[in-house]
């Protein structure tokens, strides 16, 4: 900003080779210098380095193929290897080490709301048919939701209801108990403790409860 003196770029000894030099027999040092440069470049680049980019960067007279070969040899069998990807060169973790370096971070998923509601209804009203669940939820139950619960082993079919169509009855599983750290279904909070207002009228006689008690 207020710096009136645009500081000149540092000019350390730059082994810039003279341009237009015909490729002479390459000295070992010259090759090594080129390999170092290629190594640094492939390492620092944000994308795979193409042969063309590499050739442009290397001193004139240096055979890019020789450089790449030397670089690949240097890393052969090491923890990091020179890989050819997407038309370019890139360093990659050696395949055999990747599993040892991989860290697995567990990010547990939440069940979608519909699935959670369905699960709760099954828990409290089991064994219960799909139609009954839909009536209690006041919404239709998608196959997807049911499948999700089945897949997780949280609910399972438990016989059929002796009613027209003999619909499947659903109940919770032991996996359900384990998931919620419950010893027993009786460990679920009592419905009475849950519902402060009188419960919504029961659909059909889904429950074996005594005929609706108008208890205040």
């Amino acid at each position: 900003m207020s710096d009136p003196n645009p500081d000149p770029p540092p000019a350390p000894p730059d082994p810039e080779p003279p341009l237009l030099t015909p490729p002479p027999a390459l000295s070992a040092e010259a090759l090594d210098d080129a390999v170092r440069l290629a190594e640094a470049m492939v390492f620092a680049a944000a994308a795979p380095v193409t042969a063309r980019t590499l050739a442009n960067l290397l001193p004139v007279g240096v055979d890019p193929d020789a450089v790449v070969t030397a670089l690949r040899e240097r890393y052969a069998g090491r923890g990091v290897e020179l890989a050819e990807v997407a038309g370019g060169l890139q360093f990659r973790t050696a395949a055999d080490l990747a599993p040892r370096l991989r860290r697995v971070v567990q990010v547990p998923r939440r069940l979608p709301r519909a699935a959670m509601e369905t699960l709760a209804i099954v828990a409290y009203h089991q064994p219960v048919t799909r139609a009954e669940i839909e009536e209690i939820r006041g919404a239709s139950l998608s196959q997807q939701t049911l499948d999700a619960l089945l897949e997780q082993g949280l609910i399972a079919p438990k016989g059929r209801k002796e009613a027209p169509g003999r619909p499947t009855l659903w109940a919770t599983t032991t996996a359900f108990l384990a998931q919620f750290s419950l010893k027993d279904l009786r460990d679920l909070p009592r419905r009475e403790d849950l519902l402060v207002e009188p419960p919504a009228p029961q659909p059909a006689e889904a429950e074996a409860a005594p005929p609706a008690a108008p208890e205040p």
């Binding site: 207020s2 710096d3 009136p4 640094a40 390492f43 620092a44 680049a45 944000a46 994308a47 890139q90 360093f91 990659r92 973790t93 990747a98 370096l101 991989r102 860290r103 697995v104 971070v105 567990q106 990010v107 547990p108 998923r109 939440r110 069940l111 709301r113 959670m116 509601e117 369905t118 699960l119 709760a120 209804i121 828990a123 409290y124 009536e135 209690i136 939820r137 006041g138 919404a139 997780q152 998931q179 919620f180 419950l182 679920l188 909070p189 849950l194 519902l195 009188p198 419960p199 919504a200 009228p201 005594p210 005929p211 609706a212 008690a213 108008p214 208890e215």
Partner: protein, 262 residues
């Protein structure tokens, strides 16, 4: 003590202002002037520093009056400092000036130290300038989302939500209050009376299975009593109670022989 050399910059007014604005404040300029003395900051002449500064500000003010306030504040303070330093040595005011001068010198040394630190930092291999880290780091962490995050409170919330929603969807139906109505009692009394030859206790006429709650029981009792009174008014039966709160007895009213007080 005497002012040795005049301020270095030529009094080209416009250039002066431009020059001033090249500095990061008065202290920056003072440090620059002090370095111009080419001596250790500890041995520099504060007085000559002050003169140089004042000369520069004076030059700049001739061109532009609206010089930033901090330049002028510094100028005023330096003028004061100069006046103290010029007093005969040993006087209290002069000592005050010496102290202030020492303070100024200390601040300049601190700023100088910071400037050297900043140069030292700039000369480090700076990441992204002189050295480069890997362009594409590999992320070897893997996210496992196979497990479920479930908890009881969530289950409870879901249940209540489901119930509440369905309650909202459903048409309102008042809960069926299952009590033994007077009509029920009338029908039952009428049906049963015929088969009872003798005085019978009112309780006997309560419906079976009213076991339920005390409320239901009391309701059934009241309904049956009212039904009994109703039938008695129609002359269908007679009621009798031997004592207060005693059992109430019912009897079919066919013969008119006995008439106990009802």
């Amino acid at each position: 003590m005497a002012v040795a050399d005049p301020p270095a910059p030529a009094p080209d007014a416009d250039a002066l202002v431009v020059h001033l604005e090249g500095f990061e404040g008065p202290l920056d300029l003072l440090l620059e002037l002090a370095r111009g003395q080419k001596v250790d900051l500890a041995r520099m002449s504060i007085l000559s520093l002050v003169d140089q500064y004042l000369a520069m500000i004076e030059g700049a003010r001739r061109v532009r009056l609206e010089l930033a306030a901090d330049w002028l504040v510094m100028a005023a303070w330096l003028t004061w400092l100069k006046s103290r330093l010029l007093l005969p040595a040993g006087s209290p005011a002069q000592e005050e000036g010496e102290q202030a001068a020492e303070l100024l010198a200390a601040r300049l040394r601190d700023l100088q130290a910071i400037r050297r630190a900043s140069v030292w930092l700039s000369n480090r291999p700076v990441l992204g300038q002189d050295v480069f880290a890997r362009g594409v780091p590999e992320d070897l962490t893997e996210t496992d989302r196979s497990r479920l995050a479930l908890d009881l409170p969530g289950l409870m919330r879901a249940y209540l939500l489901a119930l509440r929603r369905s309650a909202g969807n459903r048409q309102y139906r008042p809960a069926v209050v299952s009590v033994w109505t007077i009509q029920d009692a009338l029908a039952r009394l009428a049906a049963l009376l015929g088969s009872l030859p003798d005085w019978t206790c009112l309780e006997q006429f309560l419906p079976e299975g009213t076991g339920g709650t005390p409320l239901q029981r009391r309701a059934a009792m009241a309904s049956t009593l009212v039904a009994g009174l109703e039938l008695a008014r129609g002359g269908m039966l007679r009621l009798r109670q031997e004592e207060h709160f005693g059992p109430i007895l019912l009897h079919r009213a066919e013969e008119k022989d006995e008439r106990p007080e009802s």
